[in-house]
Amino acid sequence: MTTHMTEISRYSYSLKKLLDDTAALMKTLRDSNSFRAQDVFRAFIIGTGGPSGVGVTGDMAVDNLGQTNNVYLHLKLPITNAQDKVSFLMRMEGYNYGASKIIDVAWSGGMSEGGLLKSVSGTHPVDVYVDTNGNLVCSIFFTSIYFTTFNVETMCQDDSKRIIRGHLQGKVSLAPQINF
């Protein structure tokens, strides 16, 4: 009997581990382990200062800018201008409550022969630039960033250069360009 109980206990432990691993693997496969990576970066920004206060949850912190109107959000890519022949497509979807707007924007671009190539589109003013440290940065401008929720996904040219959860860094500012 004792032997049986030990075996059952071992079996149940193995099964639990298998299920946990399966759940984690399914999420990784879907969100990260492909040219299209979903849920790469998300946040809920309550405000960046002024009467709205300062608050955020999710994958970034926000500075107190003294105001919540006319704010830029910057997302640093894991790409620098020292790289060559690297490209990306990044999309953001969400709700910009403060400006009563849908968020649906796309940034694309990359480095080729020392030059930045870019093309952007969407519901908000968006841009791609190289900061003074050489980082590629995607920016989006909000007339009010009050109660803004968003989710970012990416597509990449090949597996070795994919951009997944943990690779992006977010900051807010009043200036159209900043340095990471």
Binding site: S12, L19, M26, K27, S100, I102, D104, F147
Partner: protein
């Protein structure tokens, strides 16, 4: 010692865990976390809402049409959200995508807004849509998104939601649908 009962109990726990893994496949992000997207909260196919081709015929999550319509032209689909302006202060984000064959159109509608119980209003809304689409509160206060299809013949669509602002997760089974020739219905 009777080990049948613990084993049964254990089996049901394993089954629950597997069901949870299956349910989570449609959550892009994490359950109950702002910015996470719930895919496939509603999906289905409408072949016809009148008597042609032995109709009405719908499948997937679409409810039965009931009395057939005279034709398939200018039919509104009304999606009732799980919020009511008399009771709920909740923000929402919905995206509907599909193919409207009868109208030779892409279906790509995004709707955002805030059901605000304090003033019993829909606030800060925006709707982006290929077809005419509108957010409104019905006479009972239910928040409704309507889409007008020039022809609803062979319409296939799928709905996603994002948990935004002070909203709550909108999951499979939480949207209700009605068909009408009118731009307003009451749920």
């Amino acid at each position: 010692m009777n080990i049948a009962s613990p084993i049964l109990n254990y089996t049901s726990k394993v089954k629950a865990k597997i069901n949870r893994i299956i349910a989570d496949k449609d959550i892009i992000g994490n359950d109950n976390v702002r910015g996470s997207i719930y895919r496939n909260i509603f999906k289905g196919f409408i072949r016809t809402v009148n008597t042609q081709e032995s109709g009405p015929y719908v499948s997937g999550d679409f409810p039965a049409v009931g009395a057939p319509f005279a034709d398939n032209q200018n039919i509104y689909l009304h999606f009732r959200l799980p919020y009511n302006i008399n009771a709920d202060s909740k923000m929402f984000w919905l995206k509907i995508r599909g193919y409207c064959f009868g109208g030779s159109q892409i279906i790509d509608t995004t709707a955002v807004g805030y059901s605000y119980a304090v003033t019993k209003q829909l606030l800060n809304t925006q709707v982006s849509s290929v077809q005419t689409a509108e957010l409104y509160a019905d006479t009972n206060g239910n928040v409704v998104l309507s889409i007008l299809f020039p022809s609803i013949y062979y319409v296939t669509l799928e709905v996603d939601s994002m948990m935004v602002g002070n909203g709550t997760p909108i999951k499979h089974g939480m949207l209700q649908v009605k068909y009408s020739k009118s731009n307003r219905v009451v749920f």
